[in-house]
Structures are given as structure tokens and as C-alpha cells.
């Protein structure tokens, strides 16, 4: 029917009017279009689906937060004299530079898991970052910049030491700088975000305590609030996951002023222990403030550029400390007399006062804590994305599909004319009418199409080969009466006790048939008369679909986790596979634990760059509807089955089961054939695999090959009480079996 978007169909009875009348059913759906600023709003309307318990807890958190906020604002409003005093202090401090962040020049930087940290103090460093969407490249002194490079472990802790000299400090600042070289949203070394799970600091061995964390807020999803960096929970953290081309800044207020004498060394540890792999910061500076209190630096380089234009400063000098510890809009409000401030400015000043003033700190901290726990809890509740209904747009026939041409005839929702008419007297047809018509007894098309698709699952080819088109451009079914009978049985089962549209009944009918239970081996006559097996004198042999290949390997090796439902999972994926994508720049971050071993059905679908294990076996990219899949047979498939870490891990796990289940190699071979291929090996097969086993066992024993390395494939645990060389050699046998054509073939 797609052809009719531009013109009446040449071979099928679809007209352009039919196309646009069908489209009109969907004219009442609110379309949000592309949202530039990704993240929370990008997916349109969302509906939380809390359990009763979750609802109550959320309500409780809401109430507590409101109460805490009310208490804070009440106290802030109650004493204007105190606020005026704070305003004067703040303005004076700002003008004297007392709120400015003091960037520190580290003396040492080290990592726990191998990342290389390079300090650029007075040394020049290349930076490539964005200003107003254009790349700016510069080379200038680092001023305390720390750059991570080299090994890129999943989790990492950076330890930085610096000597601030004599002072009393109120806050620590972590300034995170974007750079074009960083694959994770240009901020982190991997994943699509950085997550700073915990920050701690100590002065010459004496630990300091943080009380409040405030961030620039930009690009920060609700599950990664600033306070999570100081909540003592090693898994939660502050992170930036969307938005681009901006730096990020975290201001951490000390519980008590931190005194340093001239020789004191401050050690700051930045922990990255989240479940996002390689969500580690790429470039950062550390700063201290002695102000009361310094606002996080703005991460918005675009805004910095505007300020640069206004002040004629160069962008280079603006890279640090543009706002000198106070947001420009707050500064503007403070500089006005109170009576001249707009309502918005009054509110801004009051909010800033509530955040900064020492007399309000306990209440402000309480609000921040409750905000954090409420938002993180809400983020953990499942939600659905839904489309909203609105007043239908006018739908016209677009001549030759030209959407700029609004001269076409206006159409109402209706089904293609040659298929009949919906009976909706006196009102326009709706999507519900369409849905009812699709499955009505008077419309056998839906059932025929569905039956044909299910048939393909069990015979490799539909009764009509062209699954997506049962019209004149499709193929006349090989067994039209059978197709009709199955469709009728699907819609109105004759078997007692079955209900209509029951797919399980349909499948049972098919798999208990004589046709299904036939052998797949053709006789010479069958081969000559019906090479494609359209007449069904035998069963078909066909390679199973991508997802099944993955699931079979996991199932026989015992790795498969067959939970039902839940969010998508991310199995291992080669590094750099997403490098051709952009906006935002991202790196893949594989899941952990059970999520690595779910059925491939649950693998996250990345449109345009489908998971390569599935793509190799002809899974469609889902850029457009693909009803049928054409099986290919390529060397890339061999490379996946041989070398893809999930299949290597599966061979190792299958070998483990072989070793655990039987004592000697011959019995193990029998067991693995029976488990994987549902038959026993022949003498020749035994000979081939025994030879492989013996040869490889000798290689592992002699040290020519590294058993421990092979066995380290994947995340699943390895039992400690195994003979590693024996297990590794067995794994090479298991690997051969998982690679067999027979293993990936339904026969």
C-alpha cells in the first residue's frame, strides 16, 4: 500500500485516496517530533506505573519534601534583615573575587585500575571543544587539567593530590570538561555518560565530610542527582547522560570549613563504581572555594560565548571561571534594588539565599536530600510511553506525496474502498473501529496473514512465500484451501473449548499435523520434483533465526536466564561499534550479571546499528517493517560463532557441563551430542573430536596455549575446583559443536 502514498497503485486495487483515508485514522495522535534537547522530554508523554506500595511511598516522599521545602522557605522569608545582610556580603564578596573557584594544580594523580592520568599544570595541552555548535581547537596551558588515557577499565577511582596553601575552604569543585576525543557524550571515556559514584577528600590524612552537592544540572537524568555523589552508596552517583557540548560542574560543600596550612596536602578521590561500564570522567580540574557559597560554574559553552561577545573577552580566557561563583542572572537580580526586581528576580534571590545562607543550611540540606531520594525513587518506577489523542488534523490526499501541496481532497478515516466500508452511521470512524474491523469475522485477511506467518516459523516458508503481501503482487498460496481452513480455525475454532484468535491453538494444530511431523530428508524424486519443498511431501531444513542461534548456544551451555519481560538488556558488544553514530556521541556499555544471558529477544535494538551478533544472522534493523527474513550464509557468521565472546563463553560453559556430567571424554561427547543435537555421535564424529581434544589438551598442558585466558572469556564465574587444561581442551570441543551447521539448523 506504500506505493499509494504518491499514486494509485498500478497492480493492486489501492488508490491514493485509500492510503490517505487509512492515514486519517491516525490524525488524532499527538506527534512531538524530534526534540533537540534529548533526555526527559524526548519520548513524549509518559505514565508512571507504580504498585500501590510504590504509590504510597512516592506520596510520602512528596509530602515530606513539600513540608521540608515549606519550612525552608518560611524561615528564609521570615527574616529579611538576615537576607539583606547576606545579599550585601555576597555582592561584596563577588566583586572582590571572593566567590571565585580557585583551580588547583595537582602534584600527583593516580588511578586504581590502570587508567593513565596526566597532569597539565603549566604544560600546554590540546583541547577540542564546542562553542555554539562549532568545534574550537586550542592549545594552551592546562592550569591543573587532568586527562585520563590508556587503559579504560569498567570501574575506576582517581586519586588526586594538591597543596592549596594556607586557607579556609567552604567547598570543593569538580569541573568536568568536554572534549571531542571522548566517546561518551564527549565527557566520559565510555558508555553514554559519566557517573561519579562517590567523592571523598582528606587533608593530610584527616577525612573531610561533605554536606551538600550542587551541580550545573544540565543533561542530568533524575537517576543521577548531584547528592548521589556524597550519599555513601557506592552504586549511585552524579552523572550527565544527555545534552551535548557542555562542561559539567559539581560543587561539594564541606560540613565544616576545611582549614589547610601551607604544607597540607589535600587528597581527593573520584570513584566510578556504577553499573555503567567505562562511565569514567575523561578530563577534569579540581577547585576550592572559600566563598559563602560559590555557585557551580556554568557548563553552557554557548552562553559563555555570548558573554564573550558581550564583553569582548576571548573564549580562551573564559574557559574557566566565567561567572566567578555566581550565576549571571542572580548577579543581575542582586544588583537591583529590591523594589526594582521583577517577581521572578525576587524568587531567584530568595532561592539563592535559601541555598547559600549558613543560617538556613540544615533546612536546605534536608530539602536536597529529600529531592534526591524522591527523584531517584521515581526514576526506579516503570513507566509507559503513550500517545495522546487530540483534535484530529485535517488529512488531505497529497498529490505525488508532496507534503507541501495542500490542494488535495480532504479525506475521512476509512478502510481501503475495495475491502468494504466501516459501518459507523452519523460519525467519523475511529481507531477502535479500525481495530474491530481488523479482527472481525467478515475480514479474513488478518487471520490469513497471521496464519501464513506462523506457518513460516514451522516450515521455513509461508504457504504463500511473500509474507508481507497477500495481494496480487504476492504469491498465490501453494495450498489455498489449507490457508483458508487454518485462518477460519484461527478465527472460529471448531475444536471444543478453544477460544478465537488463540495462537497457541494455531501452533498446536500445526505441530501435531502429519505435515509437520514428517522427516526432512528428501528422496531423490522429491528433490527433483520439488527442490524448494513447496508441496510439503517432507519437512524443510532451514537455518534458525538470529535470536534462536544465540538462545540455543546459551540454553545448551546452561547460561540462559529465561526470565519473562522487563527492560531491554545489553549483552557484550565490540568496542567502537557505535562510532559512526552521533548526537550524542556514545559508547556501548554492556549490562551485568543475569542481563548478559537473557534471550536475544530482550537485546536492546539500536536502530541503524543493530547488535552485531544478531545483524550477522540477518535480523532486520527495524528501520522499516520487515515481515520476512532472508537467510544468508556468510563468512561473518563464521567469525561470530567462532570468536564472538558470548559464543566463546558459551563453549566454556558447555564444557563445564560436559566435565561435570560425565567422567571420561567419550561419555562427555555422548552427553553433549545428546544435549545439543539430540542424537549420539557417529564413530567418525567421535574420532574427529577426540583427536581435536587430545591435540589441544597437549597444547594447553605444554603451555603452548593459555587455558586460563581462554577460560576467562565472559563474566560468568568459573568454578575453582577444575583442571583448567582439561576444561579448556573440552571447551574447544564444545566450540566445534556450537559451530556446526546442524546446531543452527532446524531439520
Amino acid at each position: 500500500m506504500g506505493c499509494a502514498e504518491c499514486h494509485n497503485h498500478r497492480f493492486d486495487p489501492f488508490t491514493a485516496k485509500d492510503f490517505y483515508s487509512m492515514k486519517a485514522f491516525f490524525a488524532d495522535i499527538r506527534e512531538t517530533g524530534l526534540i533537540q534537547d534529548r533526555g526527559a522530554k524526548a519520548w513524549g508523554s509518559k505514565l508512571l506505573l507504580p504498585t500501590d506500595e510504590q504509590s504510597q511511598r512516592l506520596q510520602g516522599l512528596d509530602d515530606q519534601r513539600e513540608a521540608a521545602r515549606a519550612a525552608l522557605m518560611k524561615k528564609a522569608e521570615a527574616a529579611p534583615e538576615q537576607r539583606w545582610a547576606w545579599e550585601n556580603r555576597t555582592l561584596a564578596a563577588y566583586k572582590a573575587g571572593g566567590l571565585a573557584w580557585r583551580y588547583q594544580k595537582p602534584d600527583a594523580a593516580s588511578s586504581s585500575n590502570g587508567a593513565k592520568l596526566t597532569i597539565y599544570n603549566d604544560e600546554p595541552v590540546d583541547s577540542n571543544y564546542y562553542l555554539n555548535g562549532s568545534l574550537a581547537s586550542e592549545r594552551k596551558t592546562g592550569d591543573g587539567l587532568v586527562v585520563a588515557s590508556g587503559p579504560d577499565p569498567d570501574n575506576e577511582t582517581y586519586a588526586i593530590q594538591f597543596k592549596p596553601g594556607e586557607g579556609d575552604w567552604t567547598a570543593l569543585g569538580v569541573d568536568i570538561l568536554q572534549d571531542e576525543s571522548l566517546p561518551g557524550n564527549r565527557l566520559s571515556r565510555g558508555a553514554d555518560r559519566f557517573v561519579l559514584t562517590e567523592v571523598d577528600a582528606a587533608v593530610s590524612g584527616r577525612p573531610a565530610t561533605f554536606v551538600l552537592a550542587t551541580s550545573t544540572g544540565f543533561g542530568q537524568p533524575p537517576e543521577h542527582p548531584a547528592m548521589a555523589a556524597i550519599d555513601g552508596d557506592a552504586k549511585t552517583g552524579w552523572g550527565v547522560a544527555f545534552g551535548e557540548h557542555r562542561n559539567a560542574f559539581l560543587a561539594l560543600r564541606f560540613k565544616q570549613k576545611l582549614h589547610t596550612s601551607a604544607q597540607d596536602i589535600v587528597t581527593v578521590r573520584l570513584h566510578h563504581d556504577s553499573d555503567f561500564r567505562r562511565a569514567t570522567i575523561g578530563r577534569f580540574r579540581l577547585a576550592l572555594s572559600s566563598g559563602e557559597h560559590s555557585w557551580p560554574e556554568t557548563g553552557d559553552s554557548g552562553r559563555k560565548n555570548k558573554i564573550a561577545q558581550q564583553t569582548k573577552a576571548t573564549t580562551a580566557t573564559l574557559n574557566i571561571a566565567t561567572d566567578r561563583g555566581l550565576a549571571p542572572e542572580v548577579l543581575m537580580a542582586l544588583e537591583r534594588d529590591e523594589e526594582d526586581r521583577t517577581d521572578a528576580q525576587k524568587k531567584l534571590v530568595l532561592e539563592q539565599y535559601a541555598w547559600a545562607a549558613p543560617e538556613l543550611e540544615p533546612l536546605a540540606v534536608r530539602v536536597a536530600q529529600l529531592d534526591t531520594s524522591r527523584d531517584m525513587f521515581e526514576a526506579s518506577i516503570p513507566r509507559v510511553i503513550y500517545t495522546e489523542r487530540m483534535k484530529p488534523r485535517t488529512t488531505r490526499i497529497l498529490s505525488r506525496g508532496n507534503f507541501l501541496d495542500d490542494s488535495g481532497e480532504i479525506v475521512q478515516p476509512s478502510i481501503p474502498a475495495f475491502l468494504g466500508k466501516l459501518d459507523t452511521p452519523g460519525r467519523a470512524a475511529t481507531r477502535l473501529d479500525l481495530a474491530n474491523w481488523l479482527v472481525s469475522r467478515s475480514n479474513p485477511l488478518t487471520a490469513r496473514a497471521q496464519v501464513n506467518r506462523v506457518w513460516r516459523q514451522f516450515f521455513g516458508t509461508g504457504l504463500s512465500k511473500v509474507l508481507e503481501d497477500l495481494g496480487s503482487q504476492g504469491e498465490w498460496p501453494s495450498h489455498p484451501e489449507l490457508l483458508d481452513w487454518l485462518a477460519a480455525e484461527f478465527m472460529e475454532p471448531q475444536s471444543p473449548g478453544e477460544h478465537a484468535w488463540n495462537t497457541r491453538h494455531l501452533i498446536r494444530t500445526i505441530v501435531t499435523s502429519h505435515a509437520y511431523r514428517q522427516a526432512s530428508l528428501p528422496t531423490r524424486e522429491m528433490e527433483e520434483r520439488d527442490p524448494d519443498n513447496r508441496l510439503l511431501a517432507r519437512q524443510s531444513r532451514f537455518r534458525v533465526d538470529a535470536e534462536v542461534i544465540h538462545d540455543v548456544a546459551l540454553a545448551v551451555s546452561g547460561l540462559l536466564v529465561d526470565h519473562f519481560g522487563g527492560p531491554s538488556v545489553k549483552p557484550y558488544e565490540p568496542e567502537g561499534y557505535l562510532a559512526a553514530m552521533n548526537f550524542p556521541k556514545r559508547e556501548y556499555s554492556a549490562s551485568h550479571g543475569e542481563s548478559l544471558y537473557r534471550r536475544a529477544l530482550y537485546t536492546q535494538w539500536q536502530r541503524t546499528f543493530l547488535h552485531p551478533t544478531l545483524a550477522a544472522f540477518d535480523a532486520p534493523t527495524r528501520e522499516e517493517c520487515a515481515v520476512n527474513r532472508v537467510n544468508s550464509n556468510t563468512p561473518l557468521q563464521a567469525l561470530v560463532l567462532l570468536n564472538d565472546p558470548i559464543f566463546v563463553e558459551a563453549s566454556r560453559a558447555l564444557a563445564q557441563r560436559m566435565v561435570e556430567s560425565r567422567k571420561d571424554f567419550d561419555e562427555r561427547l555422548g552427553w553433549v551430542f545428546s544435549t545439543t543435537l539430540n542424537r549420539q555421535p557417529s564413530k567418525e564424529e567421535r574420532a574427529i573430536l577426540s583427536a581435536l581434544y587430545k591435540k589441544n589438551l597437549a597444547r594447553f598442558r605444554s603451555g603452548e596455549a593459555d587455558a586460563a585466558k581462554l577460560l576467562s572469556a565472559g563474566d560468568s564465574p568459573l568454578p575453582s575446583s577444575v583442571d583448567k587444561t582439561e576444561l579448556a581442551a573440552t571447551a574447544t570441543v564444545a566450540r566445534a559443536i556450537l559451530n556446526l551447521h546442524e546446531t543452527i539448523t532446524r531439520d
Binding site: N128, Y130, N132, G133, S134, L135, E180, Q473, S520, T523, R524, E527, R541, P574, Y577, A580, N582, T608, F609, L610, P612, D618, T621, E623, E624, V630, S632, N633, T634, P635, L636, A638, L639, L642, N643, D644, S661, S674, T675, N678, R679, Q680, E685, I688, L689, A691, L692, R699, A705, L710, S712, T732, R735, A736, N739, L740, H741, E742, T745, D747
Partner: protein, 465 residues
């Protein structure tokens, strides 16, 4: 599951395997189809055997590359005459005042042919006499992805085969160790790296063995090309030998031609494992060659990929497509195009020179170009918007007339005026050079004979030597 299942010898599979009589060998058609093309013999004698397409993604400004527009310089800052733009499709400049934006760099004449090129491209200028500049390209699509889709598949509707797939389908491969259609993507500096979808090198409605295989510049060059840690190459060889021996036994029992193909593909996979890492390692090239291209081994740059493209061409790869991104200069065209010129100029020239030295330029068609051009009007005072009515392509080798400037845009560089070349015309010409009549390379699809050139395409005879 234990002892009982082993005794279950008469399960269905075992019965199938041993219970029926053997059959004769089936044909190896599916296997041979992989190397032999459907255009056999060729429709006419070929001038080119292979194509290297240096795809400059994002839409290079023709006005700062190969289309000299002095009149536009004179008009700089003045309103664009309405006669040019009225009723025309524009992208982000809708509803804004259209001002002329003069070329940001000077042009000069290069070579004996005196072809005019922007002086940002002195290296390409140095091979000007081998190059044909087509200044009258035009396209239909004003956004990146559909424009890429049109350039690659001849259609704006996704799902059609890419040109590399068509050519591989038509001509087959000349190598059994490498895929016949290889895609490379280079790293570079850039602010607007528009994403490129894997569908751009898809086989569409052709069998998927004709799809492009992307070699990566990060990690393994081909996914999973490395033998798993802990195993030696000899063990991998034995493993594949065992798998193939078992598959042969299976084939003896069930006579499935897919098994023969599977065995051949495992052999090819092993050959790729041996050849690809060596192939992509350009560090063994002589220093003089590295310097000529400006390539540093392992940097994943356009220069390294040009050198790799030459190596792939030497080994018989039919279609090599090298994407270089970030020509999308909506802003800061002056600074940004200088970066891109710096990244591509020397290596492009080096590739042409290198092929020529090796006697391969005669039968290798080299193409340099993107999905569209950029407006002669300014965007935001220092950039240029997407533009479909006129842009430039460079062609060299493979039967192309060198030292020729073909076609032109109007005096302001807005629309192709003399000898306009549509995307299907380019496709038809490329196929013609390869010995294929574009109207006769077709597959049945939806009741039509689908072809790369759709319902259009005229061979541009004027650029053929």
C-alpha cells in the same frame, strides 16, 4: 537429563540421519554465485574494474572546493537575487533574509589543463590533469540521510541495494580472501559529524552476501576477526578443520547445499583472519609511501584509509567506499573547510598518484564527492546551508577523461546550468565504465525491474575518455 537420553538413539534426528538412502551430490550454485557476477559476459568492454569512492559526507561546499565563483565574491553581503531562489526548496534558511556569501578562499589554475580549484587543495591540484571535475551535479534530497540514501541506492526510499552491492552483484568478486565491498570510515576533527547509518551499504533487496562490510578503525578491523584469547592460530585452524570435517559428514547424510556454502564460508573466515589484520596494518608500508599519503599507522585517518583503499584495490576488492565526515558547515565554513581540506587534500592526490604509479589508475575509478553542496547564501553570517541544485564531484581513472572540467553552475554557484548531471546519471556512467548497461542490471521487485538508476540515468559520454 542424563543416562536415559543417551540411550535414546532412535530419536528423530538419528533416525533421519541413518534411516534413509543417500543422495547424489547437489550443485554448488549457491557457492559459485558468490564469486561470479550476473553480468557475464559484460554488456560491453569495461574500462574500469573497481571503484574507490571517497565519500565526503555532510555536503562539501562546492564554492570553497572546486567551483570558482568570482561573481559571488562581488555580490558578497548583498541580497541574493530573488530570481535564483524564488520557490526553491531550502533547508534551514527558510524565512531568513538570503544574503550572498562570497568564496572564503582564492582559486588558482592547476596543471597543463589549467583546471581551477580552491587553493586549499594544492595536492589535488598537482594531479589536476588526471582529474575530471564535474561542476554540475544536482540531487533531489536536502537532508543528509535521504540524500545519502539517494546517492548510495538511487532511491530515497530505504531498502534498495547500495551501489556497491549492485556492482558486486553484477560483477562478482575478484578475491576469495576479502569481502567484495568494503566500507571504511575515517576519524577526523569536526564539529558536525553527521551519523551514517549502516543501511547506506546494505544489500537491500539483494541477498545479504552482497552487502558492504565495514572495516573499523577502532578495535578489530572486522568484527570478531581475532581468534579468542588463549588460542593459537594453529588451534583455530584445527578447530575450523574439525568443524568442516563434521559438516562434511553431515552433508554426506543430508545433502544440503547450504552445508557446502557453510564449509566454504568457514574457510573464507579463516583466510580473512589471516589476511585482514595484515592488510589493515599500514605500518609495514615504506616510509616514503606513508609520507606521500600523510598517514600515521593506526590513526584511523582519511590518509590511512586512502592507503588502505589502495591495498584493498590491489587485492581485488570490487567496491571500496571511504566515508569522511564533517563537511556540514552550517557555521564557520572558512575555518572548518580548511580543516577538512587539510585532512583530505594530500591523501586524495597521493591515492591517485600511487594508483597511477602502480598502473592501476587505468582500471580503477576514483570518485570524490558528497551527498549535496552548500548554499551560495550565508547561514548565520559565516556558514552555508544544505544545497541540492548544484555541487561538484571529482572523478579520476577508470576511463575518465583527465584534465577536464565538465558542466557548470550559474554565475553565483546556485544551480547546475550547463550539462547538469543527476545522481542516476552518475550511477549510469559508473556502471557503464564497469562494462554494465544500467538498464540491464535489474532484479524483480514488487512487479518491477528494480535497478540502481530507477527510471532515470543517462551515461555522461562527455567525461569518458
Amino acid at each position: 537429563m542424563h543416562s536415559s537420553d543417551e540411550k535414546n538413539l532412535l530419536c528423530r534426528r538419528a533416525f533421519l540421519r541413518y534411516g534413509t538412502s543417500a543422495l547424489g551430490m547437489l550443485g554448488l550454485n549457491s557457492l559459485l554465485a558468490q564469486t561470479r557476477g550476473v553480468v557475464s559476459p559484460l554488456h560491453h568492454p569495461a574500462k574500469a574494474k573497481r571503484v574507490i569512492f571517497l565519500y565526503q559526507a555532510g555536503g562539501p561546499s562546492h564554492i570553497e572546493t572546486f567551483d570558482h565563483k568570482p561573481k559571488l565574491a562581488e555580490m558578497h553581503g548583498k541580497p541574493m537575487p530573488e530570481s535564483f531562489t524564488k520557490g526553491q526548496q531550502i533547508a534551514q534558511l527558510q524565512n531568513s533574509q538570503l544574503l550572498c556569501f562570497g568564496p572564503q578562499y582564492d582559486f588558482q589554475k592547476f596543471g597543463k589543463s589549467g583546471q581551477e580549484m580552491c587553493n586549499l587543495f594544492p595536492h589535488i591540484g598537482s594531479v589536476a590533469d588526471d582529474i575530471c571535475i564535474v561542476r554540475s551535479m544536482w540531487t533531489e534530497q536536502i537532508n543528509h540521510d535521504p540524500a545519502h540514501t539517494l546517492m548510495n541506492t538511487g532511491s530515497i526510499i530505504t531498502g534498495r541495494p547500495s551501489m556497491g552491492s549492485w556492482i558486486l552483484y553484477g560483477l562478482g568478486a575478484e578475491t576469495e580472501n576479502l569481502p567484495g565491498f568494503v566500507v571504511l570510515m575515517s576519524a577526523g576533527k569536526g564539529g558536525q559529524m553527521q551519523p551514517i547509518a549502516a543501511r547506506q551499504w546494505s544489500a537491500g533487496l539483494l541477498p545479504s552476501r552482497f552487502q558492504g562490510v565495514k572495516f573499523n578503525s577502532i578495535g578489530d578491523p572486522v568484527l570478531h576477526i581475532k581468534t579468542p584469547p588463549g588460542l593459537t592460530p594453529a588451534m583455530q585452524k584445527d578447530e575450523i578443520a574439525a568443524i568442516n570435517a563434521l559438516n562434511r559428514l553431515e552433508d554426506r547424510a543430508v545433502h544440503d547445499p547450504e552445508i557446502q556454502t557453510r564449509i566454504a564460508q568457514y574457510e573464507m573466515a579463516f583466510r580473512m583472519q589471516s589476511s585482514v589484520p595484515d592488510l589493515v596494518d599500514v605500518s609495514k608500508e615504506p616510509q616514503s609511501v606513508l609520507e606521500m599519503y600523510g598517514a600515521k599507522p593506526g590513526d584511523g585517518s582519511f590518509a590511512s584509509n586512502c592507503l588502505l583503499a589502495r591495498k584493498l584495490a590491489e587485492r581485488g576488492v570490487r567496491f571500496i567506499q571511504l566515508y569522511h565526515r564533517d563537511w556540514d558547515h552550517h557555521s564557520g565554513v572558512k575555518a572548518n573547510i580548511a580543516i577538512k581540506a587539510c585532512e583530505t587534500d594530500q591523501a586524495t592526490a597521493a591515492l591517485i598518484r600511487d594508483l597511477k604509479q602502480r598502473g592501476m589508475l587505468d582500471d580503477t575509478l576514483v570518485v570524490w564527492g558528497g551527498e549535496f553542496g552548500r548554499t551560495p547564501m550565508s547561514q548565520g553570517g559565516d556558514g552555508r546551508d544544505h544545497h541540492i541544485k548544484g555541487f561538484s564531484f571529482l572523478l579520476a581513472g577508470g576511463g575518465i577523461k583527465g584534465g577536464l572540467s565538465y558542466g557548470s553552475t550559474d554565475e553565483l554557484g546556485y544551480a547546475a546550468e550547463e550539462n547538469p548531471v543527476a545522481v542516476p546519471d552518475f550511477h549510469a556512467t559508473m556502471l557503464h565504465l564497469l562494462g554494465i548497461d544500467h538498464e540491464r542490471l535489474t532484479v524483480k521487485f514488487s512487479g518491477m525491474d528494480a535497478r540502481l538508476t530507477g527510471v532515470g540515468g543517462h551515461v555522461v559520454k562527455g567525461i569518458i575518455a
